[in-house]
Amino acid sequence: MTTTEKTYAGVCVTCNEQGYLTNFEQWNKDVGLAIAKEEQIEMTDKHWEVIQFLQEQHKKQVPLSIRKIGKSGVVSIKEFYQLFPKGPLKISSRISGIPKPVSCI
């Protein structure tokens, strides 16, 4: 897989070809905000709550799913869709600086 260097909010980060950070350590809130802008998402406190949940799960190495978000107590699945329309898990994962959920191939 090829990676590229990108600058978000003055921070140089490494991304894969689909625009996901390859090193979570490079993430900070300003980087997340700049990626959100690219995704045309206006971030609110609720958005950041979801991002924080995703990052906590990522640190615990828990694979993420829509069901897990719905049971998180942070948002319902419907609200998740309202916050990050069209493919909420992949968009919110990108803003969180964590890998996109993948299958085996």
Binding site: M1, N16, P63, S103, C104
Partner: protein
Amino acid sequence: MKQLLILGAGTSGTMMANHLRKALSKKEWNITIVDQEETHYYQPGFLFLPFDIYKTKQVKKKIEKFIPKGVKLLKEKINRIDKDNDLVVLENENILQYDILIIATGTNIAPQEIEGMLGDHWQKSVFDFYTFEGARNLRNKLRTWEGGKLVVHISEMPIKCPVAPLEFAFLADSYFINKGMRDKVDITYVTPMSGAFTKPIATKELGHLLEQKNIKVVPDFNIERVDAENQKIIDYGEEEVAYDLLVTVPTNMGDELIERSGFGDELNFVPTDKTTLQTKVKDNIFAIGDATNIPASKAGSVAHFEAEILTENIQRYIQGKELKKEFDGHANCFIETGHGKALLIDFNYTQEPVKGTFPFPNVGPLSLLKETHMNHMGKLAFRWIYWNMLIKGKHIPFVSATMSTSGKQLETTNNL
């Protein structure tokens, strides 16, 4: 005498019974395996059954045929595990004490999790092919179906054998061409993932297959409900896909006994260490196969590789030694692409599927991530290997439990 108890006599449980009866002293250890079923199904065959490639009798045999001498088989329903007292309570209220417990209760489809999936239309216009009954009923439907919109659909991840729905779509294309009615069938593949292929190399190498076979893909579709009356599925973002025939993979969940036992995640999968296969529930409880929550594919090949490592770790546990953190998520799967061809993929937790040869570098005879007739022959030969070697716990020559990198073209990946 000490007691080793295995819950579930499917692929994983049967393999463990065979491995452990050889590995553990008959003077010191009793082994008991519990399962309520009469039949052991060759589950990979459920993919072929709907297309009349396999007959029903080729995919089922009696469960006891594969339980070795010296292992007691109890055909009972299990109520719950009492982990604090090292007991398993059966539905008939009999109690089984254990020193070591292995959970191998697999995963089941849970169509009730999706609003509107069950009803009068279930197994009439909405089918699964993850059960024997579903695959057989779908075969009967396809024999007389006159065409229309065929939607092949994944409800949510994780599912058993994640490539099976894609294989179903490929085989459907082949099946309808052979019947001379492909022009009457519109095939759409609907997935909650970002595409039919999600890993970079597989996407690059295999993306053309969908276009070539005229299979439309609807990605990022998280189903909220089935509107059976109007024959459409609707996702949380209000996107709709219409069908005449819906072949779905419903939500997959671990056995309800896990929920009754008070552990398991939101899908009843057992929290398990992904390298040792010891559960996080208690030190003397281990788990294998589809029942675990480890981030490996839910597949027979994974269970086979896990079984070799778990057998060693159970022996180490008995001897008071540190467990080997050896399981690497190794999976090895054939993917049918129709017209007598198949792909083969070999990968683990960190190594995505790549091109190459298998099992012998530069020789093969099987090709990785490439459509060949030889791979298809390998998939067909696997049924014999399954019944005669795999579930009997025999080592499959030249295929190691941990993934080998030899024969793989790794220069194009950096293992992300």
